[in-house]
Amino acid sequence: MVDAIHGDFEQKIANDITIEPRDTMPDDYRKTLIRQISQHAHSEIVGMLPEGNWVTRAPSLRRKAVLLAKIQDEGGHGLYLYSAAETLGVTRDELLDQLHSGKAKYSSIFNYPSLTWADMGAIGWLVDGAAIMNQVPLCRASYGPYARAMVRICKEESFHQRQGFEIMHVLAKGTEVQKKMAQDALNRWWWPALMMFGPHDSDSTNTEQSMKWRIKRISNDDLRRKFVDVTVEQTKVLGLTVPDKDLMWNAETGHYDFGAINWAEFWNVVKGNGPCNKQRLEARKAAWQKGEWVREAAMAHAEKRKARKEALVAA
């Protein structure tokens, strides 16, 4: 019998038994998890920046509150994910060092600029929409702490996409200029959102092994197709136009056919040539460096207090 107590790693994976932190696991599995979970965590905290741009400029108090709460959630999600990675024997500081040195990657989508208020709508609707589609299958990932973090994240994210769609909806049904703003945001975010699912399955180096380990459950192309099918219908509700002249319903497959993704752009943004790669990384580094004396002071105070308490007990 194979269960939580019996069976080796391969048997557990084959039988869909969750792997927990202290279980034996192959080194590559551990490394792959650390890479994937930390990338995901970095994406959450870098992802706070393009939206953070608009917190102070939100057009109404209600929108300001919602946006703040949403970005705060992203910070929380980064935290849950760093915690999951930490169960694999790496510290958060080490992971942040990798981010700051440029060694670790994060989702390329956040290297695009947020230029108008409608971008808050497009990000919530498309970027969070794509993220949720990626994340829901991860709630059943083979590694327990990761799967549990994803359950919590997916539960909290359900409002994120809705608030984005609501922003788009209000704009699309608003004045001429608001509608223009919404369409412009859709034009700029559509293709990067499709790229979020990663390279085609045929070009994805990590997919096969990750599927085998059940760290990944559905392939890039399958998820992307699902996203297009769902999102195109939502675009119709908004009365906006998907910026893809090749987009067409295919009755045979029961899916939309869509145009070719500009992979040269994708790989360039990954490599650091996106419009905002530099700013994003600089902002993260600046926050971390400016916070160093604060973290130090809190630790120093905690140690002083502990020493005083111990001295009191001794006396």
Binding site: I5, Q72, L79, T91, D93, E94, E156, R295, A298, M299
Partner: protein, 99 residues
Amino acid sequence: MANETNKLEWPLWEVFIRSKAGLDHKHAGSLHAADAQMAIENARDVYTRRMEGISIWVVESKNIFASDPKEAESLYDPANDKIYRHPTFYNLPDEVKYM
């Protein structure tokens, strides 16, 4: 891993939350904090943003002792054949509906 960067890192804490009266505290996740008071407050901000809790416990992660998965068989298998500890093990006459 006691290098320079880690000397500054705030310790890791495990967070347990009672979601409502009458329930046990349940593990919610972990976080970093400089001291216990801060850990409670951070837990409040991180893990109870949506009314998930009415009481919080925190314990520094390094103070948790965990059982070794390698010993799992010897620890837990012996309970497998003690089915007489379960109420379904016993036969009752049909006339006794609830017991």
